[in-house]
Amino acid sequence: MSFMPVILWTDALIFALLAGVLALIWFIRRHDHLRAPWVVVAQRPMAMGAALVLGAFAVTGLLDSLHYRERLPDSQAGKPQYSVEVMSVFDALVSGLRTRQEKTYSGPLAIQLYAMEFVERNGVAVRDYPRLQYGGAHLQHAEERRADIARRTLAGAAQGALASLLLFAGLVAWQARRLKLPVGTWLARWRQGSLNWPARTLVGMMALMLMLGGAMAQLASGYHVLGTDKVGQDVLYISLKSIRTGLVIGTLTTLVTLPLAIGLGIVAGYFRGWVDDVIQYIYTVLNSIPGVLLIAAAVLIVQVYIESNPERFDTAAARADIRLLALCLIMGMTSWTGLARLLRGESLKLRTLDYVEAARAFGVSNARIISRHIFPNVFHLVLIAVVMDFSGLVLAEAVLSYVGVGVDPSMYSWGNMINGARLELAREPAVWWQLGAAFAFMFALVLAANLFADGVRDAFDPRLGGRR
C-alpha cells in the first residue's frame, strides 16, 4: 500500500456521529409522528437554504476527516516507512492550494508580493515588488491581470450555472415522474412556489453556491483567491481546513456530554429525593465556576499532561487531535448543566402524568419507564439544545484560541487565524485578508447554523405552537 490510513480520535467520533445521524434519519422516516415536525422544517425556505449551506460545510469537514500517511518514496519494500505528516482526502483534492506556497504576505488575487525586495532587472538591482512564484505566474504582463481574473470568474460561474442547470433538469425529470405530472405542470408549480417544499429557494441557493464555487475554483487554479499569510500559505486553504475544526467543536462538544446531561437530568427529575439533591448539587457547583476559567484551568492541565507524556502520541496531528478532543470534553463539561436542568424540570412534570402512573401501577420497571415513556417525550428538548448550542460553540472556539486555551496552535482553526493575524491590521498598508477570511467563513457557518436552529426550534417547541 502506498499509504497508511490514520484514524484520529475525532475522526472516529465524527463518523460515529454520522452513522448515528443516518440511523436516526432512517428511524424517523419510518414513524409518521416523528416525521411530522421535520416536514414542517422542510417547508421553511430559510431553514432549508441554511441546511444546504451547512451540508456544503459538512461535506468539506467529512472529506477532511479521512486521514492517511503517505509512504515515503525511499523506504524499502519489506519495511515500509510512512511520512510523519498526516494528510486528509481533502488535502489530496486541493493539493494545489496546499503546495503552492509563496514567500510571505500577498493580497487577494495579487500577482506581486506584499513587501518590497531587491530584484534584478536588466542587470541592475532595484527595489520593487517581486512577482509571486505561483499567483498569476501564467501571466506575461501585469496588465493582463484584470482581464484574466474577469475571464476566469465568468468561466467558473458559467460552469457552475451549467452544472446547476443539469442538476435542475435531473430534478425536474425525477420529480415529474414521481408525482406523475407533465414536466410543464411541475415547472409551473415550481415557479409559483406551490410545491410542498421550498424548491425555488433550494434551486436558487444551489445554483448560487455552484456558481460561486466554480468561480472560486477557476480563480484558485491561477491565483491565491484570498491572498497568502505571513509564511506564504494560501489563506483560502487555511480557511477551508478550519471548517473541520469548527464542525468538530460544534458537534462533538454537545455529543460527548449528551449522555451525562440526559442521564443525570432525567434521573434527578424522575427519582427526586436525595438523588435529585446530589445531582443538583453537582451541577450548581459546576455552574458557579466561570466557564472560561474552568476551561482555561482544564486546558492548562491537559497541556501539561501532553507535554509530560510525549511518547503516547506518534505524530503532531495526534497531539493536536487529542487536545481538540479534550477541549470538546471540557467545553461540554461546562455546558451540559443547562440541558440537565431543563430535562430535570420536564421529567418532574412527566412523572406525574397518567400514563406514567399507569405504567408504574402495572409494575413496569423504572428503567423501562424512563426509556419508553420519559426519554421519548423529552427528546425534542435534547434536539433543540444540540442545534442551538452549535453556533455558540463555534464562536467560543475563536475566543478561547485568542485567550490561548483553545485548540493546539498547530491546528488550522478560525480562532488561530484571528489570533495569528492580531497585529496585521497595524501594518502599513493593513493586511486584512486573513482576518477577513476567518471572520467571513465563521460568519457563514454560524449564520447558517442559527437560521437552521431557528427552523428546528420553531417546529419542535410545542410552546410556540407553530407561531413565530
Binding site: 448539587y281 453537582i282 450548581t284 457547583v285 459546576l286 455552574n287 458557579s288 465556576i289 466561570p290 472560561v292 476559567l293 474552568l294 482555561a296 484551568a297 482544564a298 492548562l300 492541565i301 501539561v304 499532561y305 507535554e307 509530560s308 453556533s391 464562536l395 475563536a398 475566543v399 485568542y402 485567550v403 490561548g404 486555551v405 484571528i418 491590521l425 497595524a426 493593513a430 482576518l435 471572520f439 465563521m442 460568519f443 454560524v446 449564520l447 442559527n450 437560521l451 431557528d454
Partner: protein, 325 residues
C-alpha cells in the same frame, strides 16, 4: 426574609466547598506541583534541585492533605490544601507565582473593571429593551421581520470582530478615540467609550431577540387584552403593562450577572489594555500562573452564588406573587 437570606447563605457554603475541592483536585492532584514547577522553570532549567527550590519558594513543598510529620492541628493546617485552598474562604488568596499579593491586585483592579462593565451592563440593557420594544411595537410587519433577521445576523458575528473592526475603523482610520489604554477620573472617559460601544454592539443581537420573545409572550396574555379593551393606547400598554411584567424574566438574567461585573470581561479588557481583573486573569492564563487562576475561580464562583441570592430577592421585589420563605 432575613431568615431566608441567611439560609441561602448557609446553603452557599457547601457549594463553595465543592468548588474548592474541584479546583484543588484539578490543580494539585491531576496536575502535581512538580508538573507546575517544570512548566514554570522551562525545559532548560529543569533539575530536581530547581524543582524543589521552586516548590519551597511558593509553598508547594508540603503534603497535599495530611502532614504526618507535624503534630496536633498542624497535621491538617501545614498542608497544601489548607494553605492554598481552604484559606480562600477568608479571602486569603496568597501570592501569585511571580510573588505579588493577589488580594491586593484584586482590590486595585476592581475599579477599572467596573468602569467598563457597569456602563456596558446599563447601556446594553437599555439598548436591548428599546430595540426589543420597537420590534414588538411593529410586530407582524416587515420592520419586525427584518429586525429579527438583523438580530440573527448580529449574533452570528464573532465578538472578536466587533472589537477588531471597532479598533481599526473608529480608532485607527478615523482617529476618533484612542485604540487602547486607561486613565482614572473624568480623563478616562475617552478610553472607556470605545470598549463600551463595542461590547454593547456585540450583545445587542442575542439580547434584543431574547427580550422580544419575552415581550411577545406577555402580549398574548389576557390582561393585555383587557388593557386595550379599556381604551389604553398601544404605547401605554407596552410601557405600563408589557414592559413591567416582562421585567421579571429579564431581571433573572440581569441580576445574576450583576456581581460578576466585578470580574470584568476577559477579551474586552485584554484588547483595550484595561488594567482590570479580566486582563489580570487572561495574563495569568497565558503565563500559566495557577495561583491567580485558582483565586479567580473561587472569586467568580462566590460572586455567582451572591448573584443567585440577589436574583431571588429581586424576584420577590418585582413580583408580589413571589414570597420567600
Amino acid at each position: 426574609m432575613f431568615a431566608y437570606i441567611l439560609r441561602r447563605l448557609l446553603y452557599a457554603i457547601p457549594i463553595l466547598i465543592g468548588v474548592n475541592l474541584l479546583t484543588f483536585a484539578l490543580f494539585f492532584v491531576v496536575n502535581t506541583p512538580d508538573d507546575m514547577a517544570r512548566l514554570q522553570l522551562g525545559v532548560k532549567h529543569v533539575t530536581p534541585e530547581a524543582i524543589e527550590r521552586w516548590k519551597t519558594e511558593h509553598g508547594y513543598d508540603k503534603p497535599l492533605l495530611l502532614n504526618v510529620e507535624a503534630t496536633g492541628s498542624a497535621q491538617f493546617t501545614d498542608t497544601i490544601f489548607f494553605q492554598h485552598s481552604a484559606a480562600m474562604f477568608v479571602f486569603e488568596f496568597g501570592k501569585s507565582d511571580d510573588g505579588r499579593d493577589i488580594g491586593n491586585e484584586i482590590r486595585t483592579r476592581m475599579g477599572p473593571s467596573l468602569a467598563i462593565a457597569l456602563p456596558v451592563f446599563a447601556i446594553g440593557l437599555l439598548a436591548n429593551i428599546t430595540f426589543a420594544l420597537l420590534m414588538v411595537f411593529f410586530r407582524a410587519t416587515y420592520l419586525d421581520l427584518w429586525g429579527v433577521v438583523l438580530c440573527v445576523v448580529l449574533m452570528s458575528i464573532s465578538s472578536l470582530f466587533y472589537i477588531i473592526a471597532g479598533q481599526y475603523f473608529i480608532a485607527k482610520l478615523w482617529n476618533l478615540l484612542p485604540i487602547s489604554g486607561f486613565a482614572g477620573g473624568i480623563d478616562g472617559l475617552r478610553f472607556v467609550l470605545l470598549p463600551v460601544l463595542v461590547s454593547v454592539m456585540a450583545g445587542i443581537g442575542s439580547g434584543a431577540r431574547w427580550y422580544r420573545t419575552i415581550f411577545l409572550e406577555e402580549i398574548g396574555k389576557d390582561y393585555v387584552r383587557t388593557a386595550r379593551a379599556k381604551g389604553l393606547s398601544e404605547i401605554r400598554v407596552l410601557f405600563r403593562h408589557v414592559l413591567k411584567n416582562g421585567m421579571i424574566p429579564i431581571l433573572t438574567g440581569a441580576v445574576v450577572v450583576l456581581p460578576l461585573l466585578f470580574m470584568g470581561s476577559l477579551i474586552t479588557e485584554s484588547f483595550f489594555g484595561i488594567p482590570g481583573l479580566g486582563s489580570y486573569t487572561i495574563d495569568a492564563i497565558q503565563a500559566q500562573d495557577f495561583a491567580v487562576v485558582r483565586a479567580m475561580v473561587f472569586l467568580g464562583s462566590f460572586l455567582y452564588i451572591v448573584g443567585l441570592i440577589l436574583t431571588d430577592i429581586s424576584y420577590s421585589w418585582a413580583d408580589p406573587r413571589v414570597r420567600l420563605q
